[in-house]
């Protein structure tokens, strides 16, 4: 008898816990919604923290009553963010909204049936018209828009030490051959300096360098086809040439790159240990942190610019509306603010990206580098391609692809055939062709 009683008590305790949770959920879904916004994001690094504060400043300027509950996760857009988010989502307890990259990452959440489409909001804001078409396309899945992009990060940028280039009488390299010439000249004049800085600790950085070469070798159509899995890299000449060229770049590259993160590779340039570095627009923030003035201390150009046309690789941050969000009304208000210039201008100027809206005057940026890029996109919105940085191909492929390229970069005498076979296997194992079919370009 006593045993039955004790079992009943245990069951009732569990039941109480479970039902209490359920009731709470129900209570928050009522008409008189609390003005609360629980938000997951990863912008807590230097330059990023300030940018995140701009979101809430813009939100409070319009909706002062909203109480923001931040749940930032350290460690960038990488794995630590996903660990927490994944557990919350699969437990059916999503935060009100969270930061997500457009493209494959967003698709993973859409496929998981965690998000609500935002057709009405996009129509209301006429958002498709005010952002570049290729940007809008990376938020369209099964014909519906998900998420509101708030910026654009351009990936294929080569930064260089301007004083050094002036001193040695060098001009900025516009393609791979010029890059090799410039690198050789720097190596000769400054034997202690590494012409190209690099950090591959987080793995994705090496693939950035290869991206520049692939884009120069094959052009934009090839780039898209490659990461959509439509090319057999084991037999393909262009990809092999690109890898060989990457190998040729090694003697000019910082050799201990496996130890450095991306921001440390930027610091190499600031410290005078390296002359150039490839990194996305977010490096501008890192340079600014080191008191380097854009356009004076360092120059930047999207790479390559010749002989083929100039294309910009990009990816974008966004906020989304999850299903079962406890405060959907507040989230919608926040998304409206996210789409507005009042949020995008201060946030993106501080963080180092470009603004998503092309109706914003490029002059809002204090530096000539971003003014020029933003103006270029305004005039040529179709010259944007979604990059491979967590975007076209599924994450299962990208993560392993980065590791393969980083490993290739770290080997003194890499076996190109083996690397090609390895990457070829990745494309088939992780079914890139199937999972990247959503991407339409141009």
């Amino acid at each position: 008898m006593r045993k039955i009683v004790s079992v009943l008590i245990v069951l009732s305790v569990f039941a109480a816990v479970v039902f209490a949770g359920g009731e709470q959920e129900k209570a928050t879904g009522t008409a008189a919604e609390e003005r609360k916004l629980e938000i997951f994001h990863w912008w807590i690094g230097p330059g990023e923290r300030e940018a995140a504060d701009e979101w809430f400043k813009a939100l409070h300027a319009k909706y002062p009553e909203v109480e923001v509950i931040e749940n930032p996760v350290a460690g960038g857009g990488g794995v630590s963010h996903r660990v927490v988010l994944q557990s919350r989502l699969s437990a059916g307890l999503p935060p009100d909204t969270f930061q997500a990259l457009g493209g494959a990452e967003l698709k993973a959440y859409v496929d998981g049936n965690y998000l609500l489409p935002l057709d009405d909001l996009w129509t209301e804001l006429n958002y498709r018209k005010v952002i570049p078409g290729p940007l809008a396309n990376t938020f369209m899945f099964n014909g519906h828009p998900y998420g509101i992009p708030l910026n654009m990060h351009i990936q294929n940028i080569l930064y260089y030490n301007k004083d050094l280039f002036n001193e040695l009488g060098l001009t900025e390299p516009k393609n791979f051959d010029e890059l090799m010439t410039v690198a050789a000249a720097i190596k000769e004049a400054k034997p202690d300096m590494y012409p190209l800085g690099l950090g591959t600790k987080e793995k994705w950085e090496a693939a950035f360098v290869l991206d520049l070469i692939i884009l120069g070798e094959g052009g934009p159509e090839y780039y898209v086809k490659l990461f959509k899995g439509e090319i057999d890299v084991t037999k393909d000449k262009i990809f092999r040439t690109a890898l060989e060229k990457l190998d040729k770049l090694k003697p000019y590259t910082y050799p201990y790159h496996a130890n450095l993160t991306w921001d440390q590779s930027v610091s190499l340039v600031v410290a005078g240990d390296a002359a150039m570095v490839t990194m996305g627009t977010w490096a501008i923030g890192a340079f600014l942190n080191n008191k380097w003035t854009p356009g004076e201390d360092f120059g930047a150009l999207t790479f390559p610019q010749s002989p083929k046309e100039r294309y910009l690789l990009f990816h974008a941050d966004s906020f989304i509306l999850p299903k079962n969000s406890p405060h959907p009304g507040t989230v919608m208000d926040f998304l409206r603010v996210t789409a507005s210039p009042e949020l995008q201008i201060p946030c993106d100027v501080v963080q180092g990206g470009l603004v998503a809206r092309i109706d914003i005057d490029p002059k809002v940026f204090p530096d000539p580098i971003r003014q020029e890029m933003q103006a270029y996109i305004r005039d040529n919105p179709t010259k944007l391609i979604l990059d491979q940085h967590g975007s076209i191909a599924p994450a299962s492929f990208s993560s392993e692809y980065w590791a393969a390229i980083a490993g290739f970069m770290a080997e003194d005498r890499p076996n190109i055939d083996k690397t090609l076979a390895q990457i070829g296997t990745l494309f088939t194992t992780y079914e890139v062709k199937k999972d990247a079919a959503w991407y339409v370009w141009p």
């Binding site: 004790s6 794995v79 699969s90 600790k201 130890n259």
Partner: protein, 332 residues
Amino acid sequence: MRLSLILTDSQEYLTFLWPCVKMHYTQNGIVVVRRKKTVRSKYTFIEFLIFKFPLMFFVGLLYGMLGWTIVVSFTNWKGTAPNYDFAGFKWYRLMITLDRFHVDVANNLKWLSLGVIPTVILALFIAYLLELGSFRKLESYIRTLILYPVAMSFIVTGTIWSWMLDPDKGVFNTILRGVGLGFLQGRFTTNPSTATYWLILIFVWQYLGFSVIILQSSLRTAELRDMTESALIDGASRLRILLQIIIPNIRSGLLILIALLLISTLKVFDIVYIVTFGGPGTATDVLAFYMLLATFQQHLVSLGAGIGVVIFLIAASIVIPYTIYAFKKWFD
């Protein structure tokens, strides 16, 4: 005999949890089969709350998770949303085709052998040296010094060592350059073929002091001291005393130490995460790290669960036979 206590306890607990369960256990080598006839519980409700409920919670959580991981590894969970369709051995079959998996298993075996054996041997010598008379005065200082690393978390040691091992700005190479021995400079963790060994070195450094303390405590028994003294009078050399008297007599200490080290090297994750993040490429990757990446970065949850099961199987296949062997030896 704490380990054996725990064993008896768990047996008690088992009877305690399922009073009607048919119990098999050994008494002085004879298997006893006993069926409990009386199902009446001897415990009051308060006792139940205090003892039984936390235990059930613990057992449920630990073994429930273990069971759940095994279940998930046979499902088809790929992507962000759970998918419990049965997929058989699909992910295990994929796993053995992956280059990365082979690198990981090889690295884990390196950790198991090179993380444990040198640590035990070094610790044995240091403990013995400290016990020798000539070091008495210095002993307490040295002991504090070698115990420091244990007090630090892997995050701290990892960060410090990655600063020391940095080939460009790190302490070691700077010193070598400074004294004109620049040709001896190493690439340390940035060289794919040797990086894992440098990580294991960090582990050995961190666990050495701890191992010394455990062995020292087993060295300090009156019997052992008597034996050592009489051996000395008989004219045995110090080394011979160590090999033929001390080692056979501190088996219990060695057993616990080796078991602890085996477990620590099997679950190694933090050093790899902090110092190299699995790099260069995948050169220092280990199973535990790949499990995290597969589950949360690649969104291949079933594959991640499968890797977890593999870690569990490796651990079981090493630790269980070892413990059985050691217990047999111990209770000879």
